[in-house]
């Protein structure tokens, strides 16, 4: 039976699960970023992200991009998968958002392509340049941000966040979301298979959405019940509103060196971008 809503949902759930599991294995492999202390790694990558956000020129952003690629390569992350994840989907969305900026209405300037003469609507050189810079900036930030979960085990990320002073409630919610997203995705998958096995005719769009609405409702109830039981399980094991963390990583000279490298390179690139260097 051809029910595209079911098939697409199943397909995307499986894809997400596979991708998550696929990337988790690289957190344990040997590589530059994997060998760094988690706090230092997060701070260093955030410095690169801040540097990318502050950069206004395409050349500077390309250099930042090259650094992200080099870090991924030195961390033994398969380049094809990394590039696909960073440079295909996310910049496409950023590019879509940037489309209106290319027109003379939003960014006046030198005409590149004239679309209409009266009223005058054109794509401007300044607009295209801004759109490219914006998309490249998003891609650069994402390329650094993605390196954190790819090269760090989740428990280390949250412990490092705790050490860095992120509020406990944020860490707990993030942790629970990461833990249960897989379980709930599996539940959705089972629910979708069950619906597919009972679907005897092709559903129209409205019917499909009604069915999806019921599924969302069932998932909400399940999530609510599970949340209550999980809270009981936490209470029964001594939870008093505060999660205790054990941080066993130690900062070495290698970490300090990497942090210094990040600060110096970012500072040089930002100054270069501003025309100071």
């Amino acid at each position: 039976m051809d029910n595209k809503l079911f098939d697409k949902t199943i397909e995307h759930v499986i894809k997400y699960l596979n991708e998550s599991i696929f990337f988790e294995k690289y957190t344990k492999s040997e590589g530059l970023l994997q060998s760094l202390e988690s706090r230092v790694k997060i701070i260093s990558l955030v410095i690169f992200i801040v540097g990318s956000v502050l950069s206004k020129h395409i050349l500077t952003l390309l250099i930042f991009n090259a650094i992200a690629l080099l870090l991924a390569y030195l961390s033994n992350i398969p380049m094809y998968q990394y590039l696909k994840r960073v440079y295909v989907f996310i910049p496409i969305f950023a590019g879509l958002i940037a489309i209106p900026v290319m027109f003379n209405i939003m960014t006046p300037g030198k005409d590149l392509i004239v679309l209409l003469n009266n009223p005058h609507i054109s794509i401007t050189y300044e607009g295209v340049k801004y759109a490219i810079t914006f998309t490249l900036r998003v891609a650069t930030c994402v390329s650094f941000a993605v390196l954190i979960p790819i090269t760090t085990q989740w428990n280390k990320v949250t412990s490092a966040m705790h050490k860095l002073g992120i509020p406990e409630v944020v860490i707990t919610i993030t942790n629970l979301a990461y833990r249960y997203i897989f379980l709930l995705l599996n539940f959705i998958l089972d629910m979708m298979y069950s619906r597919k096995s009972r679907a005897i005719k092709k559903l129209g769009m409205v019917e499909s959405w009604k069915e999806a609405g019921k599924a969302i409702g069932a998932l909400f109830i399940k999530t609510y019940q599970m949340g209550e039981e999980t809270y009981y399980a936490m209470l029964s094991r001594g939870y008093t509103g505060e999660i205790k963390h054990i941080y066993m990583e130690k900062i070495t000279s290698k970490d300090i060196l990497f942090l210094a490298f990040s600060i110096i390179i970012t500072a040089i690139l930002v100054l270069f971008d501003r025309g100071v260097v």
């Binding site: 599991i21 989740w154 039981e229 399980a233 029964s236 094991r237």
Partner: protein, 280 residues
Amino acid sequence: MKEIYKVVDVSYKYPNGSTALEDVNLNIYKNEIVAILGPNGAGKTTLLKIMNGLVFPSSGEIYFEGKKLTDEILRNKELMKEFRRKVGFVFQNPDVMLFNPTVWEEVAFSPLHLYSKEKAIEKTDETLKNMKIYHLKDRHPYNLSGGEKKKVSISCILSVEPDVILMDEPTSALDPKSRLEVMDLIRSFKDSGKTVVIVTHDLNLACLADRCYVLNKKVIFDGKVKDLFSLNLDELNLDVPDVSKLFLKLKERGYDVDIPTTIDEAVDYLSKIMPQKNKK
């Protein structure tokens, strides 16, 4: 024998007004395994939650080691710590117990709340090794099999060495091998002096118990598992072992037989009554 739990006239109503428990009375003594049997919706899990101080009865009283369990007592940090260290609760669905990113952190959750950091690390490693799941320590709970999840959830409570273990349907949804492993663990708890309360509707598991209660909102039976067979088991919707069913059928046909609850008991019984010449 030292009394661990004393449940006196406990009733519980759900927020929607329906009754879960009605005037339940029971006693649990030190170092015994007690099974609480009953069909679905009989209030077994609610009773365990009351015994673990997670919910409180609408009426009636519950005492743990002679002290009344109340919301006020469990709000006291020190008393609560003491109670949580002494009583461990294994939930029916291991997924609700496994909320940390790795198995190691999961097992370390209680020790970290109850002990110093150094002791918590030591206890966690020790428990994982004793339970033979040390190799799983870095795994995400999502990637575990059903049997592994159950073992991890049991390890989560063993890491604080509780005196009393409450288990809600500990063998449900397990394959035969994992089921036997869990049953062996329950036996080992008793050997090490712990008190175990098992909630189940599986009589195979209840056979491990020294005593059992049958609950259907009220306590309708209190005694030895063997004596259960005088009840109408079909009406109670209990999962009777096949070997017991066989002997119950024989009894219905007029044979004067005892009802065994395990294969070993049945073999012993049959060996005694079968003529020697048939023995190979």
